[in-house]
């Protein structure tokens, strides 16, 4: 069973193999085979058809002729038989036999089957007589016989309806077969001739037909192996011609796309190389150097340099160069301030320019002096632009052959990339600077806070010493006096009154001290009440007209963190006004807008330059900013010398403490 299965599979594979081998034959041989096959088939079919037709027709005509002969014989022999004229009958047989070459024999039998006359030399063959009887009801009978002389058609025709006997006529098929054979031979010869002619014609035709296909196949194979340059010829305007034309068009497209793809790939590689190089660079000089090198390397420029444009109107500086002779580089530094390419880029607002040697003083000089750069007759000037700002210029020297335009486009793109890197580096440097400044400020503030604490302690100590101590000394002196004057009631009374005044003065001083340190009211009654108290105290102490307005704050309390911060901010602001503004009037506004608190302090004082104040490390302002930033709020300081100051602070009223949350 397994063997049978294996056998069947083997058979199947063999069949498939054969089929592959048959179908794998060249189209030339297929066409040839087709033509020859058709001719052969046609010839064979025609031969067979003609042969069978001819044989049938000849047999039919033989049959009819034989029947006519037999009928004539039967008719003619009636009278002869009736008049017993057997000699005449015999003569008739002989003449019929002689005039009809197809007639092999004639026998005339009487009604009892006895031979009356025959055409054989001696005897009628014994086999013959019993054959071909006329069936009852039939007018005659035809029977084909086989014999030692080939096929015969035996016709039996009755004489006088059978009353006088039967004529038996034998017709040889020999001539018929010869005729069929001759016709067949001719047809086969014709077919072979047609095969020869058809074969030659088919060979020529298939050459004509298959050549374009084979050429196309070759071209496709070549294309498959990467050769896109092959263009098979369009021989004829038929489907194959169309296919060839379509193939050629496709190859043209493919070639163009491939070129484009290769170029884009090269450019992308260049950009990628530049980007990778840039990403690894750590400083501006490194960036410029790396950028220049990688651009030159990736895009095949032999030499170039980068100018960097600092802020404003400052002249560009030579930041990096590569592939230049030392002499040219040295001269370049001299020419840069008046270099037209940087100016041109500034004027046109960026872009890319092709600068001829005649417009470039450095190249002109190099030509004049006969330096190595004399072989360059121009250079590309590419703006290094980021966020619409020109950060510098990338100059690339071009040898004799012109740079393709799409390359210029890509150089520009790379220029932008470099500019972005430069911009980022500059911003990073600026941020670093800022951080450094802020750190310094913070350190300064810390020192100031420490010294302020010292100061505060010294002040409290002084105040305690000067005022409380003085008062307490007075109090002790008064108490001593009181002791001495204990027996003088009038004096005691006066002395007690003085003691009371002294004590009140001490109490008030202590109270003020306490408020300055931390107003208890802030804890008990909230920001608004504390502010009111503070403003009242200021008003009294400094004689300033301070107005406080609150909107939307009502009875609700803010978070303690926000309250103390705002209190300190406003306290600092008012202190600043008192110390520096020389103002006569201050308006304070405290407003709740949604979940944000806005505090505004506006004075009509002398004003100042806020930026400079910030930069110079004005600690009061810096402290305000620190507090606002701690709360996640914003600080706006609007002021100019001579036009008052407005300070706006906006902080979120966070009920939960973000520092601890």
């Amino acid at each position: 069973m397994a063997v049978e299965k294996g056998g069947a599979r083997w058979q199947g594979e063999r069949m498939r193999g054969m089929w592959r081998r048959i179908t794998g034959v060249s189209i030339r041989y297929k066409l040839l085979g087709m033509v020859l096959g058709v001719i052969l088939l046609l010839g064979l079919a025609v031969t067979l058809q003609v042969q069978s037709q001819l044989a049938a027709q000849l047999r039919q005509s033989l049959h009819e002729r034989g029947l006519a002969l037999a009928r004539d014989l039967a008719e003619d022999s009636i009278d002869l038989i009736l008049t017993q004229n057997l000699f005449e009958v015999h003569q008739k047989l002989r003449s019929t036999l002689e005039t009809n070459p197809d007639v092999r024999y004639i026998i005339i039998l009487d009604s009892e089957g006895k031979v009356i006359a025959h055409s054989f030399p001696v005897r009628v063959p014994a086999d013959l007589l019993p054959l071909n009887p006329i069936p009852p009801g039939q007018p005659w009978s035809v029977q084909i016989l086989d014999s030692d002389e080939g096929l015969l058609t035996d016709i039996a025709f009755p004489i006088l309806g059978g009353q006088l006997g039967v004529v038996r006529l034998g017709l040889s098929h020999r001539r018929l077969e010869q005729a069929v054979w001759v016709a067949t031979e001719r047809l086969i010869a014709t077919t072979l001739f047609a095969l020869l002619v058809g074969g030659i014609a088919a060979l020529l035709l298939t050459r004509v037909l298959s050549r374009p296909i084979l050429e196309l196949v070759d071209a496709v194979r070549a294309a498959g192996q990467g050769d896109l340059s092959r263009r098979p010829r369009v021989w004829m305007a038929d489907e194959i011609g169309e296919l060839t034309a379509a193939f050629n068009a496709m190859m043209d497209h493919l070639l163009r796309y491939q070129g484009e793809l290769l170029r884009q790939n090269r450019e992308l590689r260049a950009m990628n190389a530049v980007a990778r190089a840039l990403s690894e660079a750590r400083s501006l000089p490194e960036i410029t150097d790396v950028a220049l090198r990688s651009v030159m390397e990736a895009m095949g420029f032999p030499a170039g340099w980068i100018l960097l444009q600092e802020d404003g109107e400052a002249a560009p500086v030579l930041a990096a160069w590569h592939g230049l002779s030392p002499g040219f580089a040295a001269r370049l530094k001299d020419f840069i301030p008046g270099c037209p390419c940087a100016r041109q880029i500034q004027q046109s607002g960026g872009g890319i320019h092709l600068v001829q040697w005649s417009s470039c003083p450095a190249l002109e000089e190099a030509r004049r002096a006969g330096g190595p750069e004399a072989r360059f007759d121009r250079h590309l000037s590419v703006a290094l632009m980021s966020r619409d700002r020109i950060l510098g210029v990338l100059n690339l020297l071009i040898p004799s052959s012109e740079a393709p335009p799409e390359m210029i486009e890509w150089v520009e793109a790379i220029g932008r990339q470099i500019a972005v890197a430069l911009d980022a580096e500059r911003q990073r440097q600026r941020r670093m600077e800022e951080l450094r400044q802020r750190e310094a400020m913070r350190r300064q503030l810390l020192e100031r806070i420490l010294s302020a604490q010292e100061e505060e302690r010294r002040r409290i100590a002084r105040e305690l010493h000067d005022e409380a101590g003085q008062a307490l000394t007075s109090l002790r002196v008064s108490l001593g006096l009181l002791e001495r004057e204990a027996h003088q009631p009038e004096a005691v009374r006066a002395r007690v009154a003085e003691l009371k005044r002294l004590t009140e003065e001490i109490m008030e001083n202590l109270h003020r001290l306490a408020i300055d340190l931390r107003p208890a009211i802030l804890d008990h009654l909230g920001l608004v009440a504390a502010l009111r108290q503070y403003i009242e105290a200021c008003r009294r102490r400094y004689g300033l007209d301070i107005q406080l307005e609150t909107i939307g704050l009502g009875e609700g309390r803010l978070s303690p963190r926000v309250e103390i911060a705002l209190y300190r901010i406003l306290q600092e602001a008012l202190t600043n006004v008192v110390r520096h503004a020389q103002a006569t009037r201050v308006d304070v506004l405290l407003e709740r807008r949604g979940d944000r608190i806005i505090a505004v302090v506006e004075d009509n004082g002398i004003g100042f330059d806020p930026e400079r104040a910030m930069r110079n490390g004005h600690l009061g302002l810096f402290g305000i900013r620190e507090r606002v930033e701690q709360l996640g709020g914003t600080l706006i300081l609007e002021s100019a010398p001579g036009s008052g100051t407005t300070l706006v602070v906006e902080v979120p009223d966070a009920h939960s403490d973000p520092d601890r949350g």
């Binding site: 009636i78 017993q84 006359a117 010869a189």
Partner: protein
């Protein structure tokens, strides 16, 4: 000289042709015969075999042998039945040959023309057995016919023309015209342009109808039979002369025929109209009945023969 290529080609053609022929012929099988086996086989059969001696009836070719055969077969059957022996029909091309059959004893009885009878009677080997009655008469006429569109209306008009005779011994087919011409002082060879024998009356009628002859003399009985059977043939003819009546063609025997047979035969003929099979045979012959012989009715023929044939 044949190149190998042409030999190869021929063999290829041969193979292909053989295949084709084989394909065309192979599947059928036919009876096989050996044509060239001379030692065995049949030869021409000798005369009638031994057995009962047949009654041999000879019929003169008044009409063509085939029609004669068909017409006389019932009579032969009747005679065979009556005489209880097979009957055989003998036909010959000419009247003279029939006369010879009677004269030499090769035939037992014969239907002959009046002209032949008077010849046999004169030479002594014929005697009358019976005579047929046709249309109530025992006589008939000779008719001289021409084509229907012929311009001739009398025998005399046919001078120099082509004339068909039936048989040298025929009465109506020759003797009557010979007699008529002799009376005119003429003889057929001098009067007609050309003459020929047709050896039967219907042949003569057809010869005139087909234009082979400008005129002929025929038996009125045959003429009337054809008028019934083939009227379109007769319509192409015109009768220009009708002879006086002559005795009808009789049935004759050799005078030396065995008397019992002669008697039996006479009886068979004379009583034919009383027998159903005999009636059928009579109908075929278009004869009402057979009568005993009356030699006198042939007197006219004897006279004409005497004059024309130069009998003493």
């Amino acid at each position: 000289m044949r190149s190998p290529a042409s030999g190869w080609l021929r063999s290829l053609v041969g193979v292909m042709g053989a295949l084709l022929l084989l394909g065309a012929c192979a599947p059928r099988s036919y009876p096989y015969v050996r044509l060239n086996a001379d030692r065995e086989g049949a030869v021409v059969a000798p005369g009638p075999g031994v057995g009962r001696l047949p009654l041999r009836v000879a019929v003169a070719p008044v009409i063509s042998p085939r029609v004669t055969f068909e017409t006389y077969i019932p009579l032969l059957d009747y005679l065979a039945d009556r005489l209880d022996r097979p009957a055989e029909l003998l036909q010959r091309r000419t009247y003279a040959e029939i006369n010879d059959l009677i004269r030499t004893g090769q035939a037992d009885l014969a239907f002959v023309c009046g002209g032949a009878f008077v010849e046999g009677e004169r030479e002594g080997y014929m005697e009358l057995l019976a005579i047929p009655q046709i249309n109530g008469a025992t006589t008939y006429h000779a008719l001289i016919i021409v084509p229907a569109d012929s311009p001739f209306h009398r025998l005399e008009d046919l001078r120099g023309r082509r004339f068909a005779f039936t048989d040298p011994l025929s009465n109506s087919g020759r003797l009557y015209v010979q007699y008529r011409l002799a009376r005119m002082g003429e003889n057929p060879g001098g009067f007609f342009g050309e003459t020929f024998f047709t050896y039967s009356h219907d042949n003569s009628i057809r010869a005139v109808a087909w234009g082979l002859a400008d005129g002929a003399s025929v038996d009125s009985l045959v003429y009337e039979t054809l008028l019934l059977n083939e009227p379109e043939l007769i319509a192409r003819l015109r009768v220009i002369e009708r002879s006086p009546p002559f005795g009808v063609p009789p049935v004759v025997v050799h005078p030396g025929l065995a008397p019992p047979l002669k008697q039996a035969l006479r009886e068979a003929f004379l009583t034919m109209d009383q027998d159903p099979r005999g009636k059928k045979a009579l109908a075929m012959l278009r004869v009402e009945r057979f009568l005993p012989p009356d030699p006198t009715i042939y007197e006219g023929i004897r006279r004409m023969a005497t004059e024309v044939r130069g009998w003493p």
